[in-house]
Amino acid sequence: MRLFKFGLRTWIALSSVVGFFGGWALLAHSPKPAPPNPQPALVEPAPLPTLAPIPSLNDPNRGFQQLPDLPPVSFNSHRLRTGGS
């Protein structure tokens, strides 16, 4: 039984060491990955949708009407009142 335990530990240790170095050697001889390209790929922007022109405030079809010119604010005499105090 003791011999079996010794053999099992030895086998696990050796297989770990061999697996580690085997993997190392495999990766060391594998092809290198391509370096990242510093130039971003040019993407053609999608064309913006064309909107209908905004109607003018003076457009009679839009429902607004330009207000007539208001007369200038005249002197308000009632702010200057005299009536005693």
């Binding site: 002197f75 005499s77 200057l80 009142r81 005299t82 009536g83 005693g84 105090s85």
Partner: protein, 322 residues
């Protein structure tokens, strides 16, 4: 025109100034308004009889001793003495004890809220005459006889309006200051030939009777329908007749005067209201720089023969006082 309105001296104050032209700065008018308002607030603090720490109150407390006055207070007392003589004593700032006896012992705003504090119907005591006031010009000293108290309410408001208008005029080409119906007008608004001032109906204060067209100078109105109250069963008002010491009995409700100086207009409006229609023309015989309009109890306008021309009024609105 640009306007600033606020309350001061228990009155509505309106400052009006010609708006700046294309090259002018709107801020300039606002600076003028601020300066004029500050001046008026300062004068109210100094000349109010309702503020115990005012210069006027301190002078009244110093009766019987010489009081060193500011140039402005000295000017007002000196002017008061001139008008006292010009009106034959009908303008008398020393009637304050009579005014208090009639119930006007607090500001009108307080009276309207709390009523007359107490009945003060005791007999009129003998009081010193305003003639006894002594002035020492060089040292600006004023001596009131013992027991005298004076009230500048009959002259100071117009005087303050004129001082404020003169200050405001340094910021604009035309301006007006209206202190509760006492106006001082400087310059002429652009595009006009005169100022328009609405004449309030003393019976219905929300309505106007006419629009007066006047040039630069002062317009002041005195009325018995504005500051009034009930004392016991008596209807009292603030216009004391110095001859009786009682609220004046007059057939007119208001008198409006135009004159070169605001104090003149204010003083003579009061004096004319006291004398009424019987003596108005005789009273003004020696004052050709003054024109007036009076309103009677039916709302009819009365004026001197010169008044129609001076007020640029439409023919027909006046009844001549003869």
């Amino acid at each position: 025109m640009e306007y600033l309105e606020f309350r001061l001296m228990n009155s509505d104050i309106v400052l009006a100034a010609e708006a700046p032209d294309a090259e002018g700065s709107p801020e300039q008018i606002q600076s003028g308004f601020r300066a004029a308002r500050k001046l008026m607030e300062d004068y109210e603090r100094r000349f109010s009889r309702f503020l115990t720490d005012s210069e006027l109150a301190r002078m009244n407390r110093s009766a019987g001793r010489w009081f060193c006055a500011s140039p402005e207070l000295f000017d007002l007392v000196r002017l008061s003495r001139t008008y006292f003589y010009q009106t034959g004593g009908l303008f008398d700032p020393s009637i304050l004890p009579d005014l208090k006896r009639a119930g006007y012992d607090r500001s009108m705003e307080e009276i309207r809220i709390y009523g007359v504090k107490q009945q003060m119907m005791e007999n009129r005591g003998k009081r010193p005459s305003f003639e006894a006031v002594r002035l020492e010009e060089n040292k600006r000293k004023i001596w009131l006889p013992p027991g005298m108290e004076i009230d500048l309410g009959g002259i100071a408001k117009g005087w303050i309006a004129e001082q404020a208008a003169r200050l405001l005029w340094t910021y604009t080409s035309a301006c007006a200051v209206n202190a509760g119906g006492d106006l001082y007008l400087m310059g002429i608004p652009e595009g006009r030939v005169d100022w328009e001032v609405a004449l309030e109906d003393p019976r219905y204060p929300d309505q106007d009777l006419a629009v007066l067209r006047v040039g630069p100078g002062a317009v002041a109105t005195s009325s018995i329908t504005k500051r009034n109250w009930k004392q016991g069963n008596k209807h009292q008002h603030h216009l004391i007749d110095p001859r009786s010491g009682e609220p004046a009995v007059t057939d007119w409700l208001s008198v409006t005067v135009i004159a070169p100086q605001a104090a003149t207009a204010e003083v003579f409006a009061k004096a004319l209201l006291i004398v009424g229609s019987d003596q108005a023309i005789e009273f003004l015989a020696k004052n050709d720089e003054i024109a007036f309009i009076a309103v009677d109890r039916q709302g009819k306008l009365w004026g001197s023969p010169e008044s129609m021309e001076r007020f640029n009024a439409n023919p027909g609105i006046f009844q001549m006082v003869v």
